[in-house]
Structure formats: structure tokens, C-alpha cells
Amino acid sequence: MTSIGFPAAAHKALTDTQMRRNVGNATTTIRERRAARVAEVPDWEALRDAGSGIKARAMATMPEQLEALEASVTRAGGQVHWACDAAECNAIVSEIVRGHGAREVIKVKSLATDEIGLNDALAADGVEAIETDLAELINQLGHDTSSHILVPAIHRNRAEIKLLFERTIARGEDLGWDITAIAEAARRHLREKFLSVPVAISGANFGVADTGTICVVESEGNGRMCLTLPRVLITVMGIEKVLPEWRDLEVCLQLLPRSATGERMNPYTSLWTGVRADDGPQEFHLVLLDNGRTDVLSDEVGRQALHCIRCSACLNSCPVYSRVGGHAYESVYPGPIGAILTPQLRGLENAPTLPWASSLCGACYEVCPVKIDIPSVLLHLRGRVVREYKSRRSPEALAMETVGRVFGSQRRYEQAQKLARLGRGPIVTAALPGWSAMRGLPEIPKQTFRDWWRSRPPGPAGGDGPAP
């Protein structure tokens, strides 16, 4: 995907007013549901602290945790593979799939596999990847991409999905407008695949180092089908998903569903440890994916982005995301978390506008279940982009330098105020471009506050009031 940068992508996205309505309605609903479910938990703030602590510990001890995970998965009969980047990961998965002679694989919704473009890589090797998550299926059928971490087709409404299904899997059948009937079309299509395809591919929400247990959290049961019916299961897990101990799940599984879908308990939580004779997949592969994550880990401020448990509360709460939708972020990780994760995973030079895709309103930090201080990381990344990649002679850098020098001295500052009143000068030029297209500027007042202060008669409380 060629990146055009956030401002241009957002400009384009904002013209799709139907998408804005769809995303606006959906995020409002989820946001309200989340708020109600979180308010029920008396120790929610303590839970957030615990979640934050668990993730910080996992990151600080990641090499040991990953080795422990490898050992325990292997002990339980699984096979562990290590992939340093997307190409390596895709090659590992593809080789396993082809080794079983499979022409189709069924997939559990997985961001990690979207991140590495696994479906396209498999297609190039003659293997069709079938998405079984309802929203992922909608996107696949519509040749569309995900626009939300949890609700990948959030940009679509019911009518659009009905028409899409009728054109594709329902082969022209009129599905009516009832949501159950529309979903039934997907159900019929997928059921056949669950029962016939021998290889499944999943991501992972958590991988527990001390037991070797992998956890997938989902709402539909399609994931459960993929994780139990096929003979071979391949799980692609970003290395940041490792949790040190089994008991860490107690905290994470309370934080995630309430933050994500506003549910008290998650509908389908699948946990498996290696393979078990005559029960579930008889061959289990865990592919541990780095793909830039160790680079993120080396940034002491930025590494918080790896704490994310993919609940999407920051997306639903973000006034930017809820207006532009997910595609404007040009990444499988949209919204506030995407704005700090994508530039770090891809390299700041490859997504330099994303750290500015926020008004720094702080709504994301307020709702994050593991207390990722997204606004602070955004500021940190802005500073890095400016220091490491921007020319010191760019118009912005020069304006900032000039304004900075003006503010550095009372004399220069007061001179600039005089110039501003004349309608030119550094204060005005720094503030103007892009603003006046849509907003008027107030008339620059004839008298600054400090001029008024100096004009006050001497003595205590000697001034006039807030006269015009």
C-alpha cells in the first residue's frame, strides 16, 4: 500500500459522509456500552494498574518469557518457530500449509497476519485463505480492508452488508432486511468450510509463558470452530503478546471484554496448550513474530505501545478516529494506538504524519485498560520525527525557530505583538495557514493586555474594569 500520509488520507475519508455516519453511530454505541460496564467495577482503576504492571513486567523480561514460552509449548507437543520479519513469517506458514497439501486454510481474525500480508502471500503460493470472522469475511468479499481493530467492517452498515452478501455468497438470493437472516448467509457459507478445510490459522491475544497456553478471545464462535475442528493449527503471535504467568490472565480477561465490546464476560474464550491426543488439532505450530517489535522495545518511552491488548477503546473514544474512520491511518492498526504503533513498527520515516493525527485531547489515555499514555508517546514521537527526519530549514522549522527566539526575549516578544497588530509578523504567519479556510480570526485587539496593564493608574486596585 502506497502511503499518502494522514492529512491527505483523512481529507479523502471525510468526503465519505455515509462512512462517517456508520463509524460515528457504531463508536457511539460501543463507547456508551463500555462506559456502563466499566462503571460497574469498583476496582477498575486498580485493575488498570495491575494490567499495566503485568505488561511492563512482560516487556522488561521479554527474552526470558519467550524462551519459557517456547519450552512450555514444545513440552506440550507444539512446535515453535521464530520469524524476524513479515517475509520470514509468511514463508514459515506457507511451508507448513503446503507440507499438508492444503489448497485452502480457514482463518481466525488476526491483526498480526494482516500486518504481514499473509493472505496475499498464501495466494501467491496457490493457497486460498478464508476469513471466518464475520467482519473480516465482509471485508474479504468486498475486496476491502479492515478499518477497526475489533470491528473490521465498522465502516459498513447493515444495508451495505446485505447487498454485498446477496451479490456474493448468497448468489443473488434476496436475504431480506432481518439481521439474523443476513448473518445466516455467512453462517451457511462458513459451516461448510469449518467441516472440510484441514488447516487453520489464528493470531493470539495472549501466550502464557509458564504453561505454554495460547488464548484467543472472540465473540462469534467462528474462532472456536477454527481452533478445534481442523487437524492442523498455526498461530502467528506477535512477541509482545507474551504473559509471564497463567494468573496474569485473570486481570487481562477482566480488562479486555469490558473495554472492547462493553461486555461483562467475553463470549468465546479459547485456551489451548500444545496438542492433546484425539482432541482438537493434532499438529500445532506457534510462530513468534518480531517484525519491528524489538526496535519498539528499545525506545524507553515508545515501548508502551507494545502493552496494547487490542481492545479498541482508544479508537472508539477518539474524536479523530470516530470522524475519519480507520482507513485514513493507512495501517492495520488505526486510531490512537495505531498512531503510535505503526510509525514505530514501520520506522518513523515511513509514517511521519501519524504522530500528528491527534488533537492531544487525552480521551485515549483515559480509557486505556493498561494505561498506555498515548498522548505522551505521540509527543515523544513528534519530537523524534522533528529531530531525526525533518530538515532544519523546512518552513515549519524556520517558523518555529523564529517564534521560539521571539518568545525568548521580552523585547522581541513585544515587538512581535506590535507587528501582529499591523497584520503581519511571526505570530500571525505561524498561526495562519490552513486555519482561515474554515475559521475566522478575531481582529487583533488594538491594545495588548500588557499595554493596558501599563496604562493603569498606579496604586492598588487602581484599574478600570473589563472595558471593551
Binding site: 492529512p7 491527534s358 487525552g362 518555529m400 474554515m438 487583533i444 484599574g463 474594569g465 473589563p466
Partner: protein, 225 residues
């Protein structure tokens, strides 16, 4: 009480009436107001735009200018939050106006009269960064003659965000467009806030639309008699 006023560059230059109102209000409440004239800008714009070195140098400059002040009061929640976050909170001596009124002076009824229909834009930095809670509302509720009306989705950002409004002007305007809708639905004649930065943004669009709603800093309402 001796109070040093940190007016902020923004108010000094663009909203002097807010500064005059703060002085009127504080003097009416018995404070002895000083204005250290060496003050300029806190550096928030620089830090938020990625020019941290320059911005933090201005925060250090702020600390030097106000080093000897007993208490520093500022009518900008955003600048105060930024200064505190960057170690320039003067060991608790820097207070946002409503914090100073409610916590330090212990007043909620400041003796104001303002017979108009008003709605409060709580502002992101007031609520989420600084955490001033319902202090602005408590102060407004005690104003004589005021008709305080609710703003839907009040806590949602208006889309200003400093240079965000320029760098991402389209998104900023989409956010503002929704805020204006809520503002018009509220029936308010006046939109107030503890920060003029949001009000510059909201007021700029109101002016462009020739709308019959005006913006006023909270201090101007509290100073009114």
C-alpha cells in the same frame, strides 16, 4: 494575598479582555495582583509540535520569571497542565484560575451577575490533563441571573489541539462541525470555557457562520457585575 498573573502569550495578544477580567475579579476578591512583564510564552506550542528543546527552554524561562512569586495564577488550563507536566509547576505554586478561586481562596460565589443563557465547554485539557473537575461549573452555578444549559457530548474535543487545527485542518473542522451542532442545540447565547484556545477555534467558526452565539472566557463571566 499577592498573586502573580501569568496571562499567557495568547491572551496577552489576542484576548486582553480576559486578562482585564482576571485582574478585576482577583482584585474584587481582595488579591494584590502583580504582572511580571518579562513573561512571554510557556513553550507548549513548540513541545506539542515536536520542537521540544525550544519549548522546554521556554518552560525553564517561565520558571525563572516567576521564581519569586508567592502564587501564580493563569486563566489557561492548557498552559498550566503543560507546565506542570514538564516540571514547571513551581512546586504547587502555579494554579489555574478556577483552582485558585475554589481551592486557595475557598470561594464559589464570586459576586458575579450575568443574566444570559450560557453553556460550558469543559475543554479536554481542563478535564483530562489538569483535572480541574467541576470547579468551573460550581463557579458558574453561583453567578446571579445565569441560565446554565447543558451541552451534549460536552467532554468531546472541539478539534483545536494547537497546531493540529492547522496541520490536520480537515479533521479539525469535522470535529468542530459536530461541536457547533451540539452548541446550537443547547440553545446557549454564550459558550464559555476555562481556556481561550478552544474558544478561538469555536468562536472563529461562529464568526465565519455569522451565528448568533458568542464565546467568552469564564473569567469574563465571573468578573461581570
Amino acid at each position: 494575598m499577592r498573586v502573580a498573573l501569568f496571562i499567557t502569550c495568547f491572551n496577552d495578544t489576542l484576548f486582553p479582555q480576559t486578562g482585564r477580567a482576571v485582574v478585576t475579579l482577583l482584585e474584587r476578591l481582595g488579591c494584590d495582583v502583580e504582572f511580571p512583564e518579562a513573561q512571554t510564552c510557556c513553550g507548549q506550542m513548540h513541545v506539542n509540535t515536536g520542537f521540544q528543546e525550544r519549548g522546554l527552554a521556554l518552560a525553564r524561562r517561565f520558571e525563572r520569571v516567576f521564581a519569586d512569586a508567592e502564587v501564580v495564577v493563569s486563566p489557561s488550563a492548557s498552559c498550566v497542565a503543560y507546565l506542570r507536566d514538564n516540571g514547571a509547576g513551581l512546586d504547587g505554586r502555579l494554579l489555574e484560575l478556577t483552582e485558585f478561586l475554589v481551592d486557595r481562596l475557598g470561594v464559589e460565589d464570586v459576586g458575579a451577575t450575568f443574566p444570559h443563557r450560557v453553556t460550558l465547554h469543559p475543554t479536554c485539557h481542563s478535564v483530562r490533563l489538569l483535572g480541574i473537575g467541576d470547579r468551573p461549573r460550581r463557579l458558574l452555578e453561583r453567578v446571579r441571573g445565569i441560565d446554565l444549559v447543558e451541552l451534549s457530548d460536552a467532554a468531546v474535543c472541539c478539534g483545536f489541539g494547537g497546531t493540529f487545527a492547522v496541520k490536520n485542518a480537515d479533521v479539525s473542522m469535522a470535529m468542530l462541525s459536530d461541536k457547533l451542532g451540539d452548541l446550537f442545540n443547547s440553545g446557549a447565547e454564550v459558550c464559555t470555557a476555562a481556556d481561550n484556545s478552544c474558544l478561538l477555534h469555536i468562536g472563529g467558526a461562529l464568526r465565519r457562520q455569522r451565528a448568533a452565539v458568542r464565546v467568552m472566557h469564564l473569567a469574563e463571566i465571573l468578573a461581570a457585575t
